[in-house]
Symmetry: C2
């Protein structure tokens, strides 16, 4: 499998290329040079050539890259052609937003269930899915193929819920809770901490503009 | 200003300490050793001592850190005691979620306006704020103190909106659009790309479990 040889640093840049190429496709642009990619994306042209060469590249001297094949090749490497089934745990603001967000579907991530503990929320519909009680979580995971649990829950619940779903065979955690998850299971975790990003923004603004 | 000397690498870790200390305070825990921080946070004890020493530290041999003073000192460095006024541009799923998310308030970020172009959304209330028309954006920024614009808009709108608010004096952009913003103004930008994180999660799962 060719993608095995690609370093994680390159992998982390691939979604960025993918987003930009998606936009070019939307505009009907068929080819793009590494120089154009560089100007528009703020990555050096040599870095771009190096990144894209990692998986065979598609650039031709004087022609550039074919936008569509580059887009689909990057999608293949990222595994977008594969389907993941995900559940959202916690139907607060973030959980609801993610459940409603259509853009994940087109990247192969299907949300098949939403769970909460709040009796006022259980049974309500979000994006045509009825919010289920957390009491039914284990049963649901055992009866359905669940690859990813999206955690939108408070700090104190995070470790035990992560533990619980991992033991039931969930292999990926997309974690929006304030806790940085490191669990001793064979699970892949991506932590997303929105307020960290906001605090760093605030710090940079204070620092730069001496507010 | 002491914080000027702290490196960006340390600054980026501070929100993480802040979140964890917030949790300890919630539990009523008054002091914590670097070893405990290390075990719970997955950062080495020596890294923690080094990080916290950057701003004078508060650790005492055999006593550890005073949770409350460390929490408030980190908050000061991050500028949480200062108030930022933010507007949200784009009242789609992400914009709505952020408008409803109470946690930013307690970090000093006040959302004072939400804008959209969709006539079906304009005039509707989100978290007690009436969604305004994008036609009124310039007027609103000129008449109110707006520090940060939160961009929850499509790729093709991002550059022009960023340009427009920056020219009106907005100093910070928290960018959730698919575009990686690099604008030639005196503005601080934090890009958040949720689908990138999801795609990296998918890649790691494919790679690790050979799905």
């Amino acid at each position: 499998m060719a993608s095995k040889k690609i370093s994680m640093a390159v992998i982390k840049r691939l979604p960025r290329y993918h987003r930009f190429l998606d936009y070019l496709l939307e505009l009907g642009i068929k080819r793009v040079s590494s120089k154009e990619l560089s100007t528009r994306m703020g990555i050096t042209a040599s870095q771009i050539r190096q990144d894209l060469n990692c998986f065979g590249g598609f650039g031709q001297q004087g022609y550039g890259y074919n936008v569509e094949s580059l887009f689909s090749e990057i999608g293949n490497i990222l595994g977008i052609n594969k389907t993941f089934y995900a559940i959202i745990i916690g139907a607060g603001n973030m959980g609801r937003a993610l459940a409603n967000y259509g853009n994940f579907d087109k990247r192969g991530f299907n949300i098949i269930g939403v769970f909460d503990v709040n009796p006022e929320v259980i049974g309500k519909k979000i994006n045509n899915m009825e919010v289920m009680s957390l009491n039914n979580l284990d049963e649901f995971i055992l009866q359905n193929k669940v690859d990813i649990a999206v955690l939108c829950i408070p700090y104190k619940e995070t470790a035990s819920i992560a533990d619980r779903v991992a033991k039931l065979g969930v292999k990926g955690l997309w974690n929006f809770s304030p806790m940085d998850l490191k669990i001793p299971y064979d699970v892949v975790v991506e932590n997303v901490h929105l307020s960290d990003s906001l605090m760093v923004l605030g710090y940079k603004m204070n620092d730069r503009f001496e507010r």
